[in-house]
Amino acid sequence: MVVRKSREATDFTEFMSARSATLFRTAYLIVGDHQLAQDLLQESLIKTYVAWPRLRDVSSAEAYTRKTIVTTAISWRRRRSFHERPTDVLPDTAVPDPGEAVTTHASMVAQLRTLPPRQRAAIVLRYYEDLSEAQTAEVMGCSVGTVKAQVSTGLGRLRDRSGANLDTAPLDDEAVNS
């Protein structure tokens, strides 16, 4: 087996050490499960390693890994829908009673986890990663219009289900893009 030059491996290891925690947090917010997020990060880093020579700098590598996290998470969800569903462990996602309009942190986070993966990813990229709509569209591989629709629908659901007043002040896209 031909192993990549040690310099590349060292650069990749440094990238991993520096950015893994941030990328893990993004993965966690998107899938809402600690072990699944760990698996998602591992898979995305492997794909980044394979693509490493094409990624010119650390910022490109981080953007590539983030994009891979999002597309892989959505892909896993799609694949699962056609396969067996039952698990030998209980699902982590608790679904609060929609009748109780209790606006707690925990209930809001739990509601976020019940959203379809693309809505969840769009909200995390916009409101956690502070990406613009155009940048979010690039990461998700869709149009700006689709991002707007996913965010709007997702936030609408969060409001409806939790009964919360959700402060969703939009980001200043111009400022982010500049």
Binding site: L29, V50, R78, F82, P91, H105, Y127, D167
Partner: protein
């Protein structure tokens, strides 16, 4: 009370414990994939030469079917009423696989197990090593010494991604290094074909055919879900190894003709719940056809669960609603899921407490056959 979605997300992210990622393991797996790609590239160049030599004969191997079900209705063994095979109840406890009356000790803890008509397919190993090849190796046994049949791309966390035909001998999975789908016949005890990439997705694994889509990203979405793939569907013939593009209508007709297929819900079906009446799937959605479903107990009714939405589930062949009844004692809100079909008239249900129940379909009363049965399927978390 007003919450900032941005603050909520940041608080949640800051609270989570950051795991240590093993750089050596990531690099080792990346190198495996690169190695496999290099081999594939060499084989592809050799194959290209072969194509030039053979000329147009290869082009004829992919055909387009224009109308009607591709598979004869009795392709599925279960439709042969004079020879309906009953599968054995299959589950595992620790390192022991229970396959009907047989108890097979496979030496290590079983992570997932499923049955074909010929034996059991399983993954064994320590759950502490989800990424190690040893813990993603797929084995087959019919009671004799287990034989290795492949390595899967998934793991117990995300699901192993192994699909078994609900009748017959066909197993398909996504391979670790290449992302290709591998099709294996447990009656012949060998691989019968491979296709696709890590962008492909399986739609159905039947006894003699496998249906798949080359690029799962090409889909029309509604409410965050893929409602219809825009690419043509491919049919892999397990007997001949031939690939054929088929119209979606043909796939639906074929899939509905398989006796162990469930359907939910009809196009644009309306459901009502506490928050009002909703259209579950829009009119442009493809039919949802599967041999397994999850369910939630609502009072005494078992409601299908289609990605978090309550749906009615019917037998695709007859249109009869699935209305099996659970034994007393399960509280409302309990989750159940079909893990295998024993024959055309009986399914095995998994319950949250690890018990297994055999349920006559479409509307019989389930009976508990195993309490706290342990590992039973190839699914994962999430």
């Amino acid at each position: 009370m007003t919450n900032s979605i941005r603050d909520l997300l940041r608080q949640d992210a800051d609270r989570v414990e950051i795991p240590t990622v093993d750089a050596g393991e990531v690099i080792a797996q990346g190198e495996q994939r690169l190695h496999r790609r290099r081999i594939t590239a060499v084989l592809a160049s050799v194959a290209a030469v072969a194509v030039i030599v053979v000329g147009g004969t290869v082009a004829g191997s992919v055909q387009h079917q224009s109308e009607g079900p591709v598979d004869k209705p009795n392709e599925n063994k279960t439709n042969q009423t004079d020879d309906v095979q009953t599968r054995r109840l299959t589950y595992a406890v620790g390192s022991t696989i229970h396959w009907g009356d047989s108890a097979i000790d496979v030496g290590q803890a079983v992570q997932a197990v499923g049955a074909t008509d010929d034996g059991v397919v399983f993954v064994r190993g320590d759950k502490a090593c989800p990424y190690d090849v040893a813990c993603r190796t797929l084995w087959f046994t019919d009671g004799a010494e287990p034989v290795r049949i492949g390595t899967v791309a998934g793991n117990w966390i995300r699901g192993f991604g192994v699909s078994l035909a609900s009748a017959g001998s066909t197993v398909a999975w996504s391979e670790s290094e290449t992302g290709e789908y591998v099709v294996y016949d447990t009656s012949l005890r060998h691989e019968v074909g491979r296709f696709g990439s890590d962008r492909s997705t399986l739609l159905a694994v039947g006894d003699r055919s496998v249906y798949w889509v080359p690029d799962e990203r090409q889909c029309v979405e509604f409410d965050g879900q893929c409602m219809r793939y825009t690419d043509p569907i491919m049919r892999f013939d397990v007997t001949t190894g031939q690939q054929t593009t088929v119209p979606w209508e043909s796939y639906w007709a074929t899939r509905r003709s398989w006796s162990r297929t469930l359907m939910s819900p009809p196009h644009g079906e309306e459901i009502s719940d506490a928050s009002g009446t909703h259209v579950v799937r829009p009119p442009h959605a493809d039919p949802s056809l599967n041999d397994k479903y999850s369910f939630r107990l609502e009072g005494t009714r078992l409601l299908g669960d289609d990605r978090g939405v309550e749906v009615s589930v019917r037998l695709a062949q007859t249109g009869q609603p699935l209305q099996v009844r659970m034994p007393a004692g399960y509280p409302s809100g309990s989750y159940f899921g079909i893990t295998q079909w024993l024959d055309d008239n009986q399914v095995v249900m998994w319950s949250e407490d690890g018990s297994l129940l055999v349920c006559p379909v479409p509307d019989g009363r389930c009976r508990t056959v195993v309490k706290h049965g342990g590992i039973i399927s190839f699914a994962g978390r999430g």
